[in-house]
């Protein structure tokens, strides 16, 4: 009975304050979309880092079947060349710059590739043979990349030496900048959302002061009196969060999945399903936002 009563009160409140409720929905929607966008950028950065990014700085790719680089004129890397490279890496001249290194075989490379590109159709058309084996080097000082590059580039069996970090780091700093902007916008919009929720609840409490006054007099509990107001704000915020989650999913599905991933087939993008992991966080954030701001408002404007 009481639950039914509270639900009825909420329904009535939402209807009576429809325009305010719609604005609460829209403001939380926009603010949470920006929060989610920041989250998505971070997910995307992680996705692009792949298996090796946080572990090593420099990769020495070895010649494969179809390598066209000058050093690969004699065909794919041989076992002997590979051993020589390993010896060279362990020699004191090089080892002083190296923390440690790992060998990634074609099969390992395929495995890691499959993980990183699990969202992309490209994964089906790639075989282990197409991927080069490599030495992955963790440098004592990443700035000393040049020394490794000079020592190994001309070695037989080496296709190329690259400093992975340098390639990605510039991109990441752009993306981190974008995340920061998104977070700032989200912050401003969140303040708007909190103020708007507070105003809505205040209006709602004012327009129902007769009811709440009577409820108080006949001994309704604080919960019964306050819950409809709080839930009114929370429901609006949850709808806003759901819209934000839907928007993020749509961006991942249509923009990343259908458009960008075709433009940049060699980049790993996050999947729409991954963005849905953000949804519970957004909904939770919306609930906390609306709940606390309406509780604080009620404490001032609704005597119980």
């Amino acid at each position: 009975m009481r639950l039914q009563f509270i639900l009825g009160e909420i329904g009535g409140g939402l209807r009576r304050n429809l325009s305010m409720v719609v604005s609460v929905i829209l403001v939380t929607f926009v603010s949470l979309t920006f929060v989610g966008a920041a989250g998505m950028l971070q997910l995307q950065i992680n996705q692009m880092k792949g298996y090796w990014y946080d572990k090593v700085q420099v990769a020495i790719f070895l010649c494969g079947e179809g390598s066209t680089a000058a050093g690969c004129a004699s065909g794919p890397v041989t076992a002997e060349q590979q051993d020589n490279l390993r010896t060279l890496l362990e020699s004191p001249a090089v080892a002083q710059y190296v923390n440690d290194f790992q060998f990634e075989s074609k099969d390992d490379a395929y495995k890691h590739f499959k993980e990183q590109f699990s969202n992309s159709p490209i994964v089906d058309s790639v075989t282990p043979d197409q991927l080069p084996a490599s030495f992955r080097i963790n440098m004592k000082d990443p700035e000393k990349y040049q020394i490794i590059s000079e020592t190994f580039s001309s070695q037989p069996g080496v296709e190329t030496v690259i400093d992975q970090r340098q390639v990605l780091e510039r991109l990441f700093s752009v993306m981190n900048g974008a995340s920061l902007v998104a977070v700032i916008i989200a912050g401003v919009m969140t303040v708007c959302a909190i103020l708007l929720i507070a105003t809505t609840i205040r209006l709602s409490a004012f327009s129902r002061r007769r009811e709440t006054g009577i409820m108080r007099l006949v001994g309704a509990s604080k919960t019964v009196i306050q819950l409809p107001f709080i839930l009114e704000g929370v429901i609006a915020a949850v709808i806003g969060a759901a819209l934000a989650s839907g928007t993020l999913w749509a961006v991942a599905h249509f923009f990343l999945g259908e458009y960008l991933s075709k433009q940049y087939p060699d980049t790993a993008f996050i999947s729409p399903a991954q963005t849905l992991l953000l949804a519970p966080a957004l909904v939770g954030l919306g609930v906390v936002l609306a709940g606390t701001s309406s509780l604080l408002t009620l404490r001032r404007y609704l005597r119980v």
Binding site: M1, R2, F5, F206, R209, R210, E211, G213, I214, M215, R216, L217, V218, G219, A220, S221, K222, V224, I225, R303
Partner: protein, 269 residues
């Protein structure tokens, strides 16, 4: 049922207390009128019973409990034991008669079947059978007040507080309302009614507690609106009670203040 011990209530440090060391006991099942000029503290007395405000000093006991010791989350339980009726009825305009009365049961979680059984019974007690479906604006003032009384007593409170319930009604209608209150009192409910209506008080011949400037200046059983004591004795008592001579104008001042407060604090009950 209600016991005040040296209760003083000060709203404003600069003004005189709204209630000044009031000691009073109202027994279970009693019917008592609270009379006195505007600003004499009648509504304040009722608000203290409801724990709408806390006494500045002294203790208020309601149904055997010191209300100062009731924690805020248990105040609703105190209020379930007390029905309240006001001069301005305070019905919900979008709800019909049945729904207005049922509202008081819904918000404390009574089941639908209990509500279906109880509400018509109470409406019959207040003389409104057959008017369940009417909206408040389709009722006369007297009928609206009956709805308000029905709502106040539907949860069977032990105490009914009425703050000038006949203030907006003509004498005949007022007597009808008094009949309802008397009936509720006969059923065992303690009734405390603040009023300015001398005809009613004289007609009913119940206990009369008279307040002046926050002090009890008279407490008589089966009494009239104005004291039957000799004029000389009364004026001496008044002087003693208030401690100073009140001019007629200061009473008017209090009334104006009261009106201003009522306008400002619309949401306040």
């Amino acid at each position: 049922m209600i016991r005040f011990e040296n209760v003083t209530k000060v709203y404003d440090q600069k003004a005189r207390p709204a209630l000044d060391s009031v000691s009073l006991e109202i027994d279970r099942g009693e019917f008592a009128f609270l009379v006195g000029a505007s600003g004499s503290g009648k509504s304040t007395f009722l608000r203290l019973v409801l724990k709408e405000d806390r006494a500045t000093s002294g203790t208020v006991h309601v149904a055997g409990q010191n209300v100062a010791n009731i924690s805020s989350w248990r105040v609703p339980r105190l209020r379930r034991g007390i029905g309240v009726v006001f001069q301005d009825f305070r019905l919900l305009p979008q709800k019909n008669v049945f729904a207005n009365v049922a509202f008081a049961m819904q918000v404390i979680g009574k089941s639908r079947s209990v509500i279906r059984d109880t509400v018509p019974e109470v409406l019959k007690t207040v003389g409104l059978e057959g008017k369940e479906k009417r909206m408040p604006h389709e009722l006369s003032g007297g009928e609206q007040q009956r709805v308000a009384i029905a709502r106040a007593v539907v949860n069977r409170p032990g105490i009914l507080l009425a703050d000038e319930p006949t203030g907006n009604l003509d004498p005949t209608t007022s007597m009808g309302i008094m009949g309802v209150l008397d009936k509720i009192n006969q059923n065992g409910t303690t009734v405390v009614m603040a009023t300015h209506d001398d005809d009613i008080v004289n007609e009913m011949r119940k206990r009369v507690v008279e307040l002046k400037n926050g002090k009890v200046i008279r407490d008589e059983a089966r009494a009239l609106y104005t004291s039957m004591m000799p004029v000389v004795g009364q004026s001496r008592r008044l002087k003693d009670a208030s401690g100073r001579d009140e001019t007629a104008d200061s009473g008017g001042q209090a009334a104006r203040e009261q009106a201003a407060r009522e306008q400002a604090g619309e949401g306040r009950l």
